[in-house]
Symmetry: C2
Subunit: 195 residues, 2 copies
């Protein structure tokens, strides 16, 4: 997908809904790891969890003869929810996943205000809600309960810091060890915390 | 949104992610009615249920200077799940909504095989799963449990009829009376059946 510069630019893979396999020394992207994990969960009948499609406002569509409709004008819309949801052991599961290259903190700006509000609402309604945050510099992926995320978000709204220190993930989060088959085995932590 | 014929054609509103208010004698579309119902549920803190965005495969994006990115080539992807899901009273809720103009039956082709398979999986995992089917000729909207839908789908897979008779909705479904504020009050039936 490398186009000569200036010829045409392509959307970042996370906006594309297209699989993006990055065979770098870091392994795949967090999104790809989670998609594979969810697929494993579905195939082994453990849980039914999907990524929501990226919301697109479609303005114009061309219908060529004898081939598929082509969207010729569309715009990215902001998300009103988190990216992933589904059902596990009868319970509603809802989470957001983010990667950061930052080594000392997770910037709260990575998650939109309406996504935090959504998380707050999900928790109030008895859903299981959390974040999966990868510090790509360390290649560490943490499970962090929405309570912690919302605590720091509320602090920020009241004039506090705009980030969560890395140390908080080490102390209050749960490191998700990489496993080839179940790359981000977050349901293990869900089992510990909610059942 | 009426363009002179032959100039350009626009996608059907249900593919657009754009609100479509049809002030016909039939009222709004089922999708619009359900979106308003879900909004009411969210605002009154009853449940958090959203429509999933239409999945789009984005192939090419143009980034004009000083304005929003424009998707210039994209394709509709088939849905692997139902359209609506969320949380109610701690439980996972999942449903599909369809309108038919047919007066005697609901054609099963309106719901894709992988959507039926998704419904089957959701039920197995303890989620609450159903259909909301509107017979627009009668302006009647029915709540129908996924068990009934899956019963007929399985019959079809084994060589049976490719539709569900209208009478089945009258006998085994639940008519959802129109209410101005809560247009398709499906949670009332969920309360009766699952709690």
């Amino acid at each position: 997908m490398d186009y000569p510069s200036g010829v045409r630019r392509s959307a970042p893979a996370h906006q594309k809904g297209i699989s993006k396999y990055t065979y770098s020394n870091r392994g795949m992207s967090l999104e790809e790891d989670i998609n594979m994990t969810n697929q494993f969960y579905r195939e082994t009948n453990k849980a039914i969890i999907h990524k929501k499609p990226t919301p697109v406002q479609i303005v114009n569509v061309h219908y060529p003869k004898r081939s598929a409709a082509v969207i010729t004008e569309g715009y990215f819309q902001s998300k009103s929810t988190t990216d992933y949801n589904g059902v596990y052991r009868g319970k509603y599961i809802d989470f957001e996943a983010k990667e950061t290259k930052n080594k000392t903190l997770f910037p709260l700006a990575n998650i939109h205000d309406h996504q935090f509000r959504h998380m707050e609402a999900i928790s109030k309604h008895g859903g299981i809600c959390f974040g999966i945050i990868r510090f790509s510099s360390y290649n560490e992926t943490y499970f962090i309960d929405s309570e912690i995320l919302l605590l720091y978000w509320n602090k920020m709204l009241n004039g506090g810091r705009k980030s969560i220190p890395y140390e908080v993930f080490k102390s209050d989060g749960y490191l998700l060890p990489f496993n080839y088959q179940v790359r981000v085995h977050y349901l293990k932590i869900v089992d510990q915390l909610y059942f």
